[in-house]
């Protein structure tokens, strides 16, 4: 047990910090996300700069354009990015989900075609999993893929798809066997978002902005070479995607919460905080540290055994609820000013936006209800509820 960086880790961290200091444009630091993050060329340029510096796909094998680095580098990268308040690479779906799935299940041709442009932010990916009738219960997918002339014809509707309005490709979970139900008969496809019959409609969120979209597929032709895995094995392929969704993500979330709490402390200094609010601040700081060291424990086990420790499965759950409490505490400290809109609220409406946005945290990337089921059933070994 040694909680300090090794000299090698410290060197990587120091080089990254100075790279960020030199290269992160001032107007991008602290960028709050939301719809505006997609507008203009800045985010692609920033993503490309990260790629050119070798910080994208750190843990991917070198043969696919990755860094071939151990997981601790990825953890340090995510921590330092969040601490510098640097916006993430625009291709988060590609890097975190599509890429690892293609590496695990793709053909050599697919790997050669898709991986490098995805890392360099030349091509953006989105995910087509959830449907109006299939949310947490993903096995209810109904979007159909009819096998026809050696390819597929796709019809259906996907929803909650971030980046779809700027995406070039979609990882799409379809039902290829109309007679099948649940986990059987699903097929995983790579769909060109510019193909005829693909329509994207942004959804307006409670923040007023649009980060995610509906996607409609009307007789969209998908060539056979865009099949990922085998026809009928879509569920197994999709599980690879979801495994990666929750991988080292915990480090980015924890570090973002650390920044959020740092701002909360600054707010308390600025506006004053009563005894109960101070108690809340300390409570959230303690829990944030607990998440941090829980991530370290899980990562250490991953580094030693190749499998992350089970305790890592609680990171997202604890982070999401923590971020909701932190942002609400900030509104409480703001007092009556909390009701003001973006135009005249203190701090440019930062906390009002953050608090509303945080309500999505316990829904996106696995609802808290599903995550508690996962802990109960897969970690604690309690009987399956379904």
């Amino acid at each position: 047990m040694d909680l300090r960086d090794t000299p090698e880790e410290a060197a990587f961290r120091a080089a990254l910090r100075s790279w960020l200091e030199e290269n992160l444009p001032d107007d991008l630091a602290g960028h709050r996300g939301g719809a505006t993050r997609f507008e203009g060329p800045e985010m692609r340029e920033w993503s490309r700069a990260l790629f050119d510096a070798g910080y994208v796909g750190l843990t991917w094998p070198e043969e696919y354009g990755g860094g071939g680095a151990p997981y601790n580098h990825q953890a340090i990268f995510l921590e330092e990015m969040a601490r510098a308040e640097a916006p993430p690479h625009i291709g988060v779906i590609g890097i975190g989900m599509a890429g690892p799935t293609i590496i695990a299940h793709g053909t050599d041709v697919q790997k050669a075609r898709y991986l490098q442009p995805l890392l360099s932010a030349k091509e953006i990916w989105c995910q087509g999993f959830s449907e109006p009738g299939a949310g947490s219960d993903l096995a209810g997918v109904r979007t159909s893929a009819r096998v026809e002339n050696g390819g597929f014809v796709v019809n259906g509707q996907k929803v909650w798809s971030s980046f779809a309005h700027i995406a070039d490709f979609c990882i799409l979970l379809t039902r290829s066997d109309p007679e099948s139900s649940r986990h059987a008969g699903l097929t995983y496809l790579i769909v060109d978002m510019h193909a005829p019959g693909v329509e994207v409609r942004p959804l307006r969120q409670i923040t007023g902005e649009s980060e995610f979209n509906e996607i409609f597929f009307n007789d969209v032709h998908v060539p056979e070479e865009n099949l990922l895995g085998d026809v009928g094995s879509g569920w197994q392929v999709a599980m690879t995607t979801l495994l990666h969704e929750r991988g080292t993500l915990g480090f980015a979330l924890q570090a973002a919460l650390e920044v959020q709490i740092r701002k909360l402390v600054a707010l308390a200094r600025d506006r004053g905080a009563d005894t109960l609010q101070r108690d809340g601040i300390a409570r959230e700081w303690i829990e944030m540290q607990a998440v941090r060291f829980t991530n370290y424990r899980s990562l250490s086990t991953l580094m030693k055994t190749g499998m992350p420790g089970p305790e890592g499965s609680i990171s997202k759950l604890v982070w999401s609820e923590g971020n909701q409490r932190v942002t609400k505490l900030a509104l409480e400290i703001l007092g009556p000013d909390a009701a003001l809109g973006e135009g005249n609220a203190p701090y440019g409406g930062y906390w009002q936006y953050q608090q509303l946005r945080s309500r999505g945290n316990t829904i996106e990337a696995g609802t808290s209800e599903v995550l508690r089921n996962i802990v109960a059933e897969r970690v604690l070994g309690l009987p399956y509820s379904r």
Partner: protein
């Protein structure tokens, strides 16, 4: 960065768990024979020359086993006040200690020697009478000392800061052992008890509180082990880590026990089941020294006013570089 135990530390945990299962009421001499009383005492003083991280393993296991004896008072509280000869006697199992930081003194029924704080020093108490008080947790009695006088000077009172952090961390570790044991009882019951034709663990009204109990157990453990590593390495963040660990793990142990009692229904409310003993130890830990609320007030001051929490630099976020 490596946040795993070594194979030797894992072996120590296994040894401790097996020994305490076979010997639920071990004597001080037995603990000394196992080398537990001198884990962090130097080899030339008869100890094992290891660190507080190994002691952390023992605190967790002794908490889990609801051990009754002077291990916490000696190793978790008094050790930093003892000189070389006294440490050697502890390692050899010839002496045990407790330290009177307030009117209620822990392990006074089993500790051989009592240390008291006076002026700028810590002294051995000479003479005086001990009265052992009835406590809710009968495995960890408190007592009061009447009369007596300051005898041998043991240490400068500047060591009290280190003692405070060490004892908070030790109790946080005990709390982790308690909470884990309570969670295991609840999981076993929820996996076997049937109602409405199903194992009750199927129902999310039962399983989700247990999932939350698990998060409390693991977050507690992460904080307590962070604090333990800081104590072992004299890290500048030791004080704030110890405060965070006791605040979170103490309250969490109480809460996890309550969740477990509820999950076991009537059985959990009986005298016969061990849950109430785990619960009472958790409540003891929460009440001893500073409570979770008091510790958070310290931490808030250190974060907001950038005052030091118990004398350490606030430096709340960065892991030390190098090493």
């Amino acid at each position: 960065m490596d946040f795993t135990f070594t194979p030797e530390q894992e072996a120590l945990r296994e040894q401790a768990r097996e020994f305490l299962a076979a010997n639920p009421e071990p004597t001080w001499a037995q603990l000394a024979e196992l080398g537990w009383t001198g884990v962090s005492i130097a080899e030339e003083e008869g100890g094992a020359g290891l660190t507080f991280v190994e002691e952390a393993v023992l605190f967790e296991e002794l908490g889990r086993a609801l051990y009754h004896g002077p291990f916490f008072a000696t190793v978790g509280l008094s050790l930093p006040a003892l000189g070389a000869e006294d440490r050697a006697a502890v390692a050899a199992g010839e002496a045990s200690w407790t330290l009177a930081l307030g009117p209620l003194v822990p392990d006074l029924d089993t500790a051989a020697h009592v240390a008291i704080v006076g002026g700028d020093g810590i002294y051995e108490l000479e003479g005086g009478e001990r009265e052992i008080l009835e406590t809710t947790d009968t495995s960890r009695p408190l007592g009061v000392v009447r009369g007596g006088e300051a005898g041998r000077r043991l240490a400068d009172s500047t060591v009290l800061t280190a003692i405070e952090t060490r004892s908070r961390t030790a109790l946080a570790l005990e709390a982790c052992g308690i909470a884990r044991a309570a969670l295991e009882d609840a999981l076993e019951y929820a996996s076997s008890r049937e109602q409405f034709g199903k194992k009750i663990g199927v129902y999310q009204a039962v399983s989700h509180p247990l999932a939350d109990a698990y998060t409390h157990v693991e977050l507690s453990r992460s904080l307590a082990l962070w604090a333990a590593w800081c104590v072992a390495n004299d890290d500048p963040q030791a004080a704030i880590a110890g405060a965070a660990a006791k605040s979170y793990a103490g309250e969490s142990a109480v809460q996890v026990c309550e969740t477990a009692i509820q999950a076991l229904g009537g059985i959990g409310f009986t005298w016969e089941h061990r849950l109430h003993r785990l619960y009472k130890r958790a409540l003891w830990i929460e009440s001893f020294g500073a409570s979770g609320t008091a510790l958070r007030a310290e931490i808030a001051a250190s974060l907001i006013e950038e005052k030091t929490a118990s004398g350490t630099s606030p430096a709340p976020v960065t892991v030390a570089q190098g090493g």
